[in-house]
């Protein structure tokens, strides 16, 4: 046993057939001297392991066949692709196991093209790995620093050039040249900044809604009578003035409104009841988070959900945010009925609809 004691950390042969460098389990942890050596020795390359194809001509032959087969598969894929391109009716669909009903044309083209490309690539890699030279080689990096004469010559040339161009003697040229070089980027920057478009003015804060504007259905644009809105109903609403809009999509994106009728007793804040009409309430459909259309209305819980990030608004509590990333409640549109019984806006939105923007302030 004593022959295995290694108090100074050197590894000795275990003499049990595991080679001279194997460490026996009962040797346990070998304590080092601590600290790093001043310089690590280059460990050199690991021993070369010969491949099957290097040792045995049969193995090499087999690898060659495999590579050829992969390349052949690639060619076959290309040929099948061309055949399928002309032979299969693009309109035809059929049942494909694992996919279901799908266009056979697209699926076959996809599979054959995958064969063509993958066969090529896999074949090339297999070839490189099995048959191409496998000897390790080392190339040391040469020094990158130029010779002292070269460095000196560059400096001399530069100084000489400056001298001949009379830069030192004619400061007027030197300074005007500096200006000429510094200013031209402005000619590039100016159109870039100017091209960002006109300032939005009050367009972000205002919508088309104004006092007396009738609420109309989207997309039919027909006015809505109060008695048509039954409890549990939801109407997707635009202002009637949208018909005069020159930028319908922009205006629609701000003015879209959701109209719901609740049992008036379910509505908690007095303001919400006052701004509505007998339990009919109108809220901006534009989410205060990033402006998605908040359209998912659960008529049993009176929750309004935004489909983009799951912000949830409680219609019974003046559309307060009860879940999700939105920070402000949806703005309510004050509505009333006109002399013919149609729902109209009683005032424009009191605050800006939709997501926050720089000039919006906290209101």
């Amino acid at each position: 046993m004593s022959e295995h004691d290694t108090p100074h950390g050197e590894v000795v042969g275990t003499g049990d057939g595991y080679g001279s460098t194997a460490v026996r389990l009962d040797q346990g942890h070998v304590e080092g001297t601590g600290g790093l050596p001043a310089r690590f020795e280059d460990p050199g390359l690991p021993p070369h392991v010969a491949r099957m194809a290097d040792l045995d001509e049969k193995g090499a032959k087999r690898a060659e066949k495999q590579v050829a087969a992969l390349f052949g598969l690639s060619s076959l894929g290309t040929i099948l692709f061309i055949v399928a391109y002309f032979a299969i009716d693009p309109e035809k669909s059929g049942f494909i196991p694992g996919i279901g009903n799908a266009s056979i044309y697209n699926v076959v083209l996809g599979i054959t093209m995958a064969l063509a490309l993958l066969g090529c690539g896999v074949g090339a890699v297999h070839w490189a790995k099995t048959l191409m030279p496998d000897s390790e080689s080392v190339e040391y990096r040469h020094t990158q620093r130029a010779s002292d004469e070269d460095r000196q010559r560059v400096v001399t040339n530069l100084m000489d050039g400056g001298e001949k161009a009379q830069l030192g003697r004619r400061p007027l040229i030197k300074f005007s040249l500096a200006g000429a070089l510094a200013l031209p980027p402005l000619a590039i920057l100016l159109p870039l900044v100017g091209g960002l478009g006109p300032l939005p003015k009050d367009q972000l804060s205002t919508t088309m809604w104004k006092k007396g504007d009738r609420l109309v259905r989207d997309p039919e644009r027909t006015p809505i009578r109060a008695d048509q809105v039954t409890i549990g109903s939801v109407f997707h609403v635009l202002p009637e003035s949208i018909k005069d809009s020159e930028h319908v999509l922009e205006d629609k994106a701000k003015a879209a409104v959701l109209l719901m009728r609740l049992n008036p007793e379910d509505i908690k804040p007095q303001k919400e009841r006052d701004w509505g009409h007998e339990g009919i309430v109108a809220y901006s459909k534009i989410c205060t988070h990033v402006g998605c259309p908040v359209g998912l209305y659960e008529q049993q819980t009176h929750h309004l959900l935004c489909p983009c990030h799951q912000s949830t608004f409680d219609v019974t509590q003046d559309c307060k945010v009860i879940f999700g990333p939105a920070k402000r409640p949806l703005p309510q549109l004050k509505i009333t009925v006109d002399s013919e019984g149609y729902l109209v806006a009683d005032a424009p939105f009191r605050e800006a609809v939709g997501p926050s923007f720089w000039e919006r302030g906290s209101a």
Binding site: V49, R51, M52, A53, E91, S93, G98, I99, G100, N101, A102, S103, N106, V107, G110, V125, K129, T130, D134, R217, D218, P219, E220, I224, R225, Q228, V229, T230, I231, G232, S233, V234, F235, H236, M260, P293, G295, L296, Y297, E298, Q299, Q300, T301, H303, L305, P307, T312, F323
Partner: protein
């Protein structure tokens, strides 16, 4: 057997064993699971008959007078359309209380029995009637207009292709594939469960017919791509690419870095 024993510590062995166990359990369950007893087959469309069916099948949750209990809502005023929708799509009677009644492939009552219950519920208080077949087939409907109406009114919950989507707390908007036009119409008129009501003043019967026409057109549409992955958009497609696309690429990277044997 020796070959099998030698491979019992193979990394794939546990996965294979699990798969085998799952398949066996599934087969055993489908063989021995109790079969649904056939519902009463009496056929009559009278209010009396409907009341009998109601008392036998619905009153546990909806109350003996359909006045509603903690387990189910009051039914006077929901109309024949609601009954025809809920029972005709297999949602009612519900197997167990849940956040939402799921659609069932197997409808346990004949149309006559459903009509009888509908007549009984309609006799309690006026409500939306079963719609006229003229507006429920989608025939002659304007598919483009129907699609626009669908995108404005329905798509936020049911997805633009009618694939359905999630709501809060386990509720969901069901997929609208291969649904009878009558049931689509009835759902709009009655607003089942979380769905709001779209009465005939909101979306006219002609417009509802257009929506049905659009949904039927979607049903007919050929799948031009490969796997639809539920038509759910970037979530399911992204998940697929993350798992399979990246998996394949990682596999290739490992193979590229490995020395040939």
């Amino acid at each position: 057997m020796n070959a099998l024993a030698a491979r019992r510590r193979h990394p794939a062995a546990i996965a294979l064993l699990l798969l085998l166990g799952l398949i066996l359990t599934g087969v055993a369950y489908s063989t021995f699971a109790p079969k649904q007893a056939d519902a009463a087959t009496a056929a009559a469309s009278s209010v009396e008959e409907g009341k009998k069916l109601f008392l036998a099948n619905c009153a546990t949750c909806h109350g003996l007078q359909a006045q509603g209990t903690k387990a189910g809502p009051a039914l006077p005023g929901v109309g024949a359309a609601a009954v025809d929708f809920q029972m005709g799509t297999g949602r009612m009677p519900m197997a167990a209380p849940n956040v939402q009644a799921p659609r069932a492939d197997e409808v346990r009552f004949t149309q006559e029995q459903i009509s009888a219950v509908a007549a009984y519920i309609a006799s309690l208080a006026p409500g939306p009637a079963v719609p006229d077949a003229e507006y429920t087939t989608g025939e002659g409907g304007d598919v483009a207009l129907g699609a626009e109406l669908f995108r404005v009114n329905c798509a936020m919950c049911h997805n633009f292709a009618g694939s359905g989507g999630a709501l809060t707390r386990g509720k969901y908007a069901p997929a609208l594939r291969d649904i009878e036009g009558k049931h689509i119409y009835e759902a709009m008129v009655t607003g089942p469960q979380s769905m709001p009501v779209f009465n005939d003043d909101n979306i006219s019967p002609e417009a509802k017919n257009d929506i049905v026409a659009y949904l039927h057109e979607v049903d007919k549409q050929e799948n031009v791509g490969g796997m639809a992955l539920g038509n759910l958009g970037p979530v399911s497609e992204g998940l697929f690419v993350w798992i399979f696309g990246l998996g394949i690429m990682v596999g290739f990277a490992v193979w590229l870095g490995r020395k040939a044997a």
